[in-house]
Symmetry: C2
Subunit: 213 residues, 2 copies
């Protein structure tokens, strides 16, 4: 887990960058996202909230996009995958955690906005992948390995196939929760998580009654 803040290069001569300023700026960014949202958030305002000069902010981040990515990425690091005994329970748990993060206004407006910007900015897209997407894929990999240990899921043929499946599951889980929460704009509550998990594990063809409802 390397530091991803702009204050990374040590060993140089001269006055080192204030690490406290980093955390203050990122916290101020999240606070501004809550109060103002993405479009009305200005770097001058963030600097004022953080108690630093605007120029200091520009020395560390190229612009608004990168700053918000860093600020939002920290939110998703809270995700965990406690062992609940079954694959279904594990999935429901992580879905609920993910949904809880997306309830927070600083995540809602920030995440979608930077993804939108990333459609025209390769460097920004790489930053999102590195700090958010790839970091959280660990959850899928761990849950899958756990299920295979339990005998719930078969092992893959080869590593490439395994990576493909992990990517697919990640897109399905994250995509569905994000779409439900932000586009359909309805809560991904326990009922929804249960229905989603059922379809993900058993498929639409499954007409079973157990755990029905």
């Amino acid at each position: 887990m390397q530091s991803r803040s702009p204050t990374g290069r040590a060993g140089r001569a001269g006055r080192p960058r204030s690490a406290a300023a980093d955390t203050a700026i990122l916290a101020a960014t999240r606070a501004a996202l809550v109060e103002l949202g993405w479009s009305k958030l200005t770097l001058g305002d963030v600097a004022a909230r953080a108690g630093v000069a605007k120029t200091t902010l520009y020395r560390r981040w190229p612009g608004k996009n990168e700053l918000v990515v860093d600020a939002v990425a920290e939110l998703f690091d809270e995700l965990e995958l406690p062992d609940r005994g079954s694959l279904a329970a594990d999935i429901e748990g992580v879905v609920r955690q993910f949904a809880a993060i997306l309830e927070r206004p600083e995540a809602r407006s920030g995440l979608m906005a930077v993804v939108a910007e990333a459609t025209r900015d390769d460097a920004l897209r790489a930053r999102i992948r590195a700090l958010i997407v790839d970091r959280q894929k660990r959850l899928v990999r761990e849950g899958r390995a756990r299920a295979q240990r339990r005998g719930e899921l078969p092992a893959e043929r080869d590593a490439r196939q395994a990576a493909r499946v992990v990517d697919l599951i990640f897109d399905m889980v994250a995509g569905a929760v994000v779409h439900r929460t932000l586009v359909s704009a309805e809560a991904a509550d326990e009922d929804w998580a249960r229905g989603f998990t059922r379809v993900l594990l058993c498929g639409l063809f499954d007409t079973g009654a157990p755990g029905d409802r």
Copy 2:
């Protein structure tokens, strides 16, 4: 299918609004999205491209958000659901169509941006639901009815349960394709659509060989 353009109120006295200006403005908006993307798109630029005055544009749309929603919504009306004989084939087909639209830059940057803005703007969220989400849910409903006619899927108990399932499927399909295309930033090609459809229909527990890769 009612007109959703700002030029809707007929029967009034005085000079009617130019319908040609509406289409010119929406086309200019999409063109500007392609060249500039969301963040650098300005209403002055759109007005110039469309050959209308900036004030005319402001008389018809409240702002950038609403304009882009209307411009992007027209893209998704192209979606169709030709009968391919089986539920799996139908899903793969609509996934590929949806992915094809999301390949276009005017859809990529525009869609995510307005969704981001909608997280803090109830009216905008309602506009997106009316013009994009609810309009395209017809695809899920039709595909589901078709599959039930074929005997591939059982009928629901009641209407409320049916609506819930439609919502869930819509979030899963649209969410997964959007996430794959815009967040993971990889193509939702035929291979991916096949794997996705298989999981959606049969679930992760299914270890079957038939049609395997």
